[in-house]
């Protein structure tokens, strides 16, 4: 109950405004898309970037006349629910979505929430797009969850491999917050690193999310002198402090994470000490961003005052939902049709230059296509902005 969904509140307000505005000059039928995630508390930034990117996109669509699916033009309404990172609330949120007659929901942001909403989602015919990595969410018999991003067990190996090949990284150390998600991510990261033949020199150091001084936590890990330090599942709030402490302690190796980060936060929190920090992004770097991406960023910024680079990866889920519905109009209230169409779905990726495609993947990891194909763009932070390091794909 702490820090209730202030953020959610913000999101909802924005939704209402967006909705109100639409209702004012367009009388289109409304297509509701849900969001259940954490928009308050220490992890608020994750959910907020999610919610805002959805709202920015929805407002954009509505302003330009709506979204046409099967001959009907809809206005898009985003219905948001702050689960406060509490699985109990997440279930309530999913129930609320069912109540609203919503069949497509983005979120939740964390493992326990994503697992807790599964019974509700499956009972109420809701497809949901969590930002959580446990494989059992996406593997049969689970049917309704679609991984909304690239899992760390997919991006991790790609990053480690790249660094091994190009930077001569031989030893790696992991550090994670003492919470479910980061620990799970660390464990799968460690397994992946070992498989690649990297030497894992430290994998059991953890910190509490409320840590204010990371020096004592980092000291033992840095003593092992790894070539690469992986911050498993690091939250945007902790990342700058970890970077700063590590560099101040004289660490000169590479630092990476498999989650998305915000350049502004890094710049403020760690300044130049964040240079060289490797993280995962969407189509954020100038050479990759399509004009549509740039417009999106612009609209987002004017709507909420400030862009969040994490949104680069979070703009996709809504686009996937809409594009798939467009391709299979009957799926609008028939989830089975949606699922059936996932195998063959393909559409151009509007946010990236080049001929990238939107499609569902995940056969290798889950045995069924329950993941959206987002280009795995690995970024390096440099002086306040991200630069592309390399791009990879997931199957």
């Amino acid at each position: 109950m702490q820090r209730r969904s202030l953020v959610k509140a913000a999101l909802t307000a924005a939704t209402l405004t967006a909705f109100g505005a639409t209702a004012a000059f367009a009388e289109n039928p409304v297509l509701k898309i849900g969001f259940v995630g954490v928009t308050s508390g220490p992890a608020a930034a994750w959910g907020i970037s999610n919610q805002r990117s959805m709202e920015a996109r929805a407002a954009w669509i509505n302003e330009t006349g709506g979204y046409t699916i099967g001959g009907t033009t809809y206005d898009i309404e985003i219905v948001s629910f702050d689960d406060q990172k509490d699985p109990k609330r997440a279930i309530a949120g999913m129930e609320k979505m069912a109540q609203e007659g919503i069949h497509y929901v983005v979120g939740p942001n964390v493992d326990d929430g994503a697992a807790a909403v599964r019974p509700v989602a499956e009972a109420n015919d809701i497809m949901y797009f969590p930002y959580a990595f446990p494989k059992e969410l996406y593997s049969a018999p689970a049917s309704n969850a679609v991984l909304g991003m690239i899992a760390n067990y997919q991006s991790g190996p790609a990053i480690y491999k790249h660094l091994m090949d190009n930077e001569g990284v031989k030893t790696v150390a992991f550090i994670a917050a003492n919470e479910s998600d980061p620990l799970s991510q660390r464990d799968s990261g460690v397994a992946a690193a070992k498989e690649l033949g990297l030497e894992v020199v430290s994998d059991n150091v953890t910190y509490q999310v409320d840590t204010t001084d990371f020096t004592p936590v980092l000291t033992p890990i840095l003593r092992t002198r790894p070539d690469l330090l992986v911050l498993s599942g690091v939250s945007p709030a902790n990342a700058p402090q970890l970077l700063r402490s590590a560099r101040e302690l004289g660490f000169e190796g590479m630092i990476s994470t498999e989650t998305a980060q915000d350049a502004g936060v890094l710049a403020e929190g760690a300044g130049d000490l964040a240079n060289g920090f490797i993280s995962v992004g969407g189509a954020s770097t100038p050479e990759l961003a399509s004009p549509m991406m740039n417009e999106f960023v612009e609209r987002y910024t004017s709507m909420f005052g400030e862009y969040n680079d994490e949104s680069n990866t979070k703009v996709y889920a809504l686009e996937y939902i809409l594009e798939t519905l467009k391709a299979t109009p009957e799926a609008i209230d028939d989830v089975a049709a949606f699922q059936a169409s996932m195998d063959g779905f393909e559409a151009p990726n509007p946010y990236m230059n080049g001929d990238e495609k939107l499609k569902y993947v995940g056969m290798t990891s889950f045995g069924q296509k329950r993941q959206i194909a987002v280009p795995l763009v690995v970024n390096v932070y440099q002086d306040g902005a991200f630069e592309t390091m390399f791009i990879a794909r997931v199957d």
Partner: protein
């Protein structure tokens, strides 16, 4: 070692504010962490955003929090304490205030992690045996100075004496002619101000975000418990002990990996069970 001193000094300041409020009014201020966060955001806004000199920004944090604290005491805590059958009811009020401040923080300052430029660059490195960035040293010194100033205030000023009398025995203080209502308010404002001051100091190192409030409150509670509730020396001891525990404990216990914190918390529980009054406190109940 140096890290212990650094962590300890900031923890001690947080704990001091909390323990002061507790001693004066028997209120466990759940909103203490939120006050700390506000302090951080105010300094961030003045120093980081508007380029006001750091010291002035810090001063603004103190003033803001002192005013907030005074208002909260005057219009919320004081009447509730008078009207409630069991004084623990103030815990609900404190929690309500924590929610309210959280809501305000989100609306005013947003959800992102915020940080300000370093006030001093560079790292003090003594042969790799002692590594300490200069800004930490500076903050640590400032924190210790503040603590010393606070103690001096409590010991030697008229206000300090009145507050101490009040903390010891409300009724007796009243009989001695201390204006209880007024000094409760001053005390609360002072406690809140300390929270704001630490928030302002630390924003230069750890940054600030709206999620820090709750965990900070809980940490502060633990420090106060270790040292002994409502005792100033206890808060300082508690702060330093927790600071050292984190600084050393993590270094030595890190080999146990994931259960490091479990060990720390369990030992804390055992300590409290054996010595419930903390190090310096009197049994209370």
């Amino acid at each position: 070692m140096a890290n212990g001193v650094y962590l300890g000094s900031q923890y001690a300041m947080i704990a001091l504010g909390l323990t002061l409020i507790f001693a004066l009014m028997n209120v466990l201020n759940f909103a203490h962490g939120q006050m700390y966060v506000i302090g951080g955001f105010v300094t961030y806004t003045f120093y980081g955003q508007w380029g006001v000199p750091f010291v002035l920004a810090l001063f603004m944090s103190c003033i803001t929090l002192a005013i907030v604290g005074a208002l909260i005491e005057r219009y919320l805590f004081a009447p509730v304490i008078k009207g409630s059958a069991r004084e623990e009811s103030t815990m609900l009020l404190a929690a309500g205030i924590a929610f309210l401040l959280d809501a305000l923080i989100l609306l005013i300052f947003g959800e992102k992690q915020r940080g300000v430029p370093k006030i001093v660059d560079g790292v003090f490195n003594w042969d790799f045996r002692l590594i300490m960035p200069y800004d930490r040293i500076l903050i640590c010194v400032l924190a210790i100075l503040s603590i010393v100033a606070f103690i001096a205030l409590m010991q030697y000023s008229k206000t300090g004496r009145a507050l101490r009398a009040l903390a010891q025995d409300r009724t007796a203080a009243q009989l001695m002619g201390v204006n209880v209502d007024r000094y409760s308010m001053i005390g609360f404002a002072l406690g809140a101000m300390l929270a704001g001051l630490v928030g302002g100091l630390l924003v230069t190192i750890t940054g600030v975000n709206l999620g820090m409030g709750g965990p900070t409150s809980i940490k502060a509670f633990m420090m106060v418990m270790i040292g002994g509730a409502g005792v100033i020396s206890g808060a300082i001891w508690g702060g330093f002990i927790l600071g050292f525990m984190e600084a050393f404990g993590l270094a030595y216990l890190s080999q146990y990996g994931d259960i490091t914190y479990l060990l720390i918390f369990v030992s804390l529980m055992i300590f409290l069970a054996i010595r419930p009054q903390g190090l310096m406190g009197k049994p209370w109940g």
